[in-house]
């Protein structure tokens, strides 16, 4: 066996421990890098060279030191998948929580200055007027409060339409973001593939790719796969978004028309197959649900608008029927008339409901009387107003297939309905946040850099390095001793 065998062992040890120190440095400097997973070095003992089993002193050969077998990222694919699943749901619930809280705000919270208040004011005015039907002061007061009611309905509806448009923009933004992330992942795929052809693992590039997939998972439910030869793929709803270096783009197609405003809304479609993207959960799903949801199970803006429209349509229908049946009060050169509308009968949506021109012209056109007002007759007659007043406590009103009961109780139900939905999603978003955080923490517990751990490694490698250096100096002395004999 060569006299320099020990020097060779010392050299390997020096190199390996130096690498260890460098790796510790790399880990430590990335302690705060998002998505970074700690890397560990695994080493193995190098077997004794064959053919020199006998070293002349009758024992088997001594191994020839240490070598690095791998520098690998510590990462759990299982936690990655779980985190992405929960993160997708979090993306959806958090977006919905915010959206419903905003809708709750728009609907006026049911308290001061809301639709409910305005409705009550109108009914109170009717009650007041029914006691003083000849009072033009009370008539004007009723007209003013009815104008306030229509204004609030108009403003609320247009705020909801505005928010719907914003959600449409959101769909566009999210789709763009998905395409962008897909492109970045595809680029990284080819970089990683090329790098790994050399036989090494592209730890840092893989971390970057994982981070991009994490971001993607907040937008839509994603699944990932990797072939044994390192070709990576990402799919949404079972359809491939990225397969290795190829991106299958998502494009936007206008497919929904708002029946009231005539605005068109876009939805995401797979460019190649023309099939609509089923995004599972994620922020994309939230934006689409809020924009299009029209059922009690997925209540979106159309659902709440339909309720406001039902209220508006019912107000127009019921108030007009009563006002048409009664007689107006004469004013100026206008004699007492019957068949006058209260609201404009052509405008039956919350966004456009308005008083009839006759009423806007004069409160005298409120048909309080059940008979013609002329000469000395019926100035104080308010029998027809009683029919309006009885609407207040009605129980069987319905409109557009929606059961209202009466106007005030319906508006109360709408207010509480959105409050329950907003509260439910706020709670769920919070729970989901906790769950996602917990999984994120477990993942970090596996992959995260611990400074204490790295500091200890640093000392360990330093000491090993010192020991290797000592070994070399001992062998050097041994060699000197022999040479100087």
């Amino acid at each position: 066996m060569s006299s320099f065998y020990g020097l060779e062992i010392g050299k390997k040890s020096l190199l390996v421990n130096q690498k260890g120190i460098e790796l510790t440095g790399h880990n430590l400097s990335n302690v705060n890098t998002e998505g970074y997973s700690r890397q560990v070095m695994t080493t193995a003992a190098v077997a004794a060279p064959s053919g020199c089993a006998l070293s002349g002193i009758g024992v088997s050969g001594i191994g020839s030191g240490v070598t690095i077998t791998a520098i690998a990222s510590v990462r759990s694919v299982f936690y990655d998948a779980m985190y992405r699943k929960e993160n997708a749901l979090l993306g959806e619930l958090a977006a919905k929580g915010t959206a419903y809280a905003y809708i709750e705000d728009i609907l006026g919270k049911g308290t001061q200055g809301g639709i409910l208040d305005a409705l009550s004011a109108v009914y109170n005015d009717i009650d007041q007027l029914s006691q003083n039907a000849e009072s033009s002061l009370y008539r004007e007061q009723l007209v003013q409060d009815a104008v306030t009611l229509t204004n609030i309905l108009n403003v609320t509806a247009s705020s909801l339409y505005g928010y719907q448009q914003e959600q449409d923009e959101n769909v566009k933004r999210i789709t763009e973001q998905i395409n962008m992330l897909a492109q970045q992942i595809a680029d990284l795929n080819s970089s990683i593939f090329k790098y790994e052809l050399s036989g090494y693992t592209a730890n840092d590039l893989r971390d970057q790719r994982n981070l991009l997939v994490d971001q993607l998972s907040g937008l839509a439910s994603v699944t990932v796969g990797e072939t044994s030869d390192g070709r990576y793929s990402v799919s949404i709803g079972g359809v491939s978004l990225v397969s290795h270096a190829t991106v299958h783009e998502i494009e936007l197609r206008a497919d929904t028309v708002n029946p009231v405003t005539g605005d068109t809304y876009v939805s995401p479609y797979w460019k190649e197959s023309g099939i609509r993207v089923e995004s599972g959960s994620g922020a994309l799903r939230a934006a689409l649900d809020i924009r299009d949801g029209n059922s009690a199970s997925t209540p979106g803006i159309p659902y709440y608008l339909a309720q406001l429209d039902a209220l508006a349509a019912s107000l127009v229908r019921e108030f007009n029927a009563v006002n048409q049946a009664g007689y107006t009060m004469p004013y100026g050169s206008n004699a007492s008339r019957t068949g006058v509308d209260f609201f404009d009968p052509a405008k039956t949506h919350a966004c456009d409901i308005t008083l009839s021109d006759a009423l806007l012209e004069s409160g005298c056109n409120i048909a309080a009387s059940s008979a013609e007002v002329a000469g000395a007759d019926n100035w104080g007659n308010s029998e027809n107003l009683n029919a309006l007043l009885s609407l207040r406590d009605a129980s069987g009103l319905s409109s557009d297939g929606i059961t209202l009961g009466n106007h005030e109780s319906f508006m109360r139900a709408v207010t509480i309905g959105i409050a329950i939905t907003a509260g439910y999603y706020a709670d769920r978003a919070e729970t989901q946040q906790t769950l996602t955080d917990a999984i994120g923490e477990q993942r970090m517990s596996v992959s995260g850099v611990s400074m204490d751990e790295e500091t200890i490694n640093l000392i360990r490698y330093q000491q090993s390095y010192q020991a290797a250096a000592k070994l070399i100096s001992v062998i050097d002395e041994m060699l000197s001793t022999i040479i100087n004999m």
Binding site: S130, A133, W379, G380, D393, M451
Partner: protein, 311 residues
């Protein structure tokens, strides 16, 4: 489980946020005095709150209705009292005139006095209040009881020509006021309820009396009959006065009950919506303590590492 610095940091940030959030929420409650800032904080309580405030709004409207009904009842009462006094005086004058000792000219003087009271009754019937003529039914804008050439008309219909059905229909034309859930009240009466209708109406009776008394030799039997009719009219006015008094009593009772309900609803609203200040301040203090404890513990944990103990 491995614990890394960034886990500790993120936990610390989360805990601090949570404790701070709680502190802010309690602070909002104390400063606004309301338990809920959004209905979604507690939909169940918010639903009760909406129901109660609707109820309170109704009660307020009813209270205002009761007030206007009371005004009307009082105005009616004073008109009726006036009419009652006139009729009382007329009755005394008729008794005085029926005495055989009076000469025709003395009786004619008495008739002139009766005519004065007759005019006064007409004025009382046309009394007006805050909402127009009070005894005119639906006719609030024009003088309800008018006289031309000795014919007295109510809303343009001559009293003598009126039959029972017509009178019933016209006197039913009064405004009703809602004073409680489902309870409507007719506060006003019409002039017809005082004058009666047909040939025996109040004015026809007075006219017949005056005609009889101013004769040179009044017919005792006819006078007796007219006196009886006068008594009937007087009794009717008294009955109306009693009814009106009854209405006022009823309004008093309704108002008392409304006040009680209003207080009860306000109390419920306060219990449902308002923050118990003492409790909130204690909760605020607790939240503050929790926040400070979180800050102090997190601060210490995050700061230390192995490096502190290496040379």
């Amino acid at each position: 489980m491995r614990v890394t610095q960034s886990m500790v940091c993120e936990d610390a940030i989360r805990n601090i946020n949570q404790a701070y959030g709680k502190l802010i929420a309690t602070q909002l409650q104390v400063s606004s005095g309301k338990i809920r800032s959004n209905p979604s904080d507690d939909p169940c309580g918010a639903s009760t709150s909406l129901y109660l405030s609707a109820k309170a709004g109704r009660l307020e409207q009813y209270a205002s209705n009761v007030n206007s009904a009371r005004t009307l009842v009082r105005e009616t009462e004073s008109a009726l009292t006036g009419i009652g006094e006139c009729l009382q005086s007329v009755k005394e004058l008729v008794i005085q005139a029926s005495s055989n000792t009076l000469s025709q000219s003395e009786r004619e003087d008495i008739c002139a006095e009766i005519a004065q009271y007759r005019d006064q009754i007409l004025v009382c019937l046309n009394a007006s209040g805050s909402g127009g003529y009070i005894l005119g039914g639906y006719n609030t804008n024009n003088t309800p009881v008018t006289e031309s050439d000795g014919t007295v008309c109510y809303n343009g219909v001559a009293l003598v020509d009126m039959d029972g059905a017509q009178c019933g229909a016209l006197s039913a034309q009064t405004v009703s006021v809602t004073v409680a859930d489902g309870i409507q009240m007719k506060a006003a009466i019409t002039a017809l309820d005082v004058t009666g209708y047909g040939a025996g109406n109040l004015f026809a009776t007075l006219d017949a009396l005056m005609l009889e008394l101013s004769r040179s030799d009044p017919d005792e039997t006819a006078l007796d009959g007219l006196r009886e009719r006068l008594d009937e009219h007087y009794d009717r006015v008294l009955t109306r006065l009693t009814e009106t008094g009854g209405k006022e009593n009823r309004l008093d009772m309704i108002e008392a009950r409304l006040k009680k309900s209003q207080l009860a609803v306000e109390d419920l609203i306060s219990r449902n919506d308002d923050v118990d200040i003492e409790e909130s301040i204690i909760r605020y203090a607790m939240a503050e303590q929790a926040y400070e404890a979180t800050l102090s513990v997190s601060g210490r944990t995050v700061r230390t590492s192995l490096l502190d103990y290496l040379d």
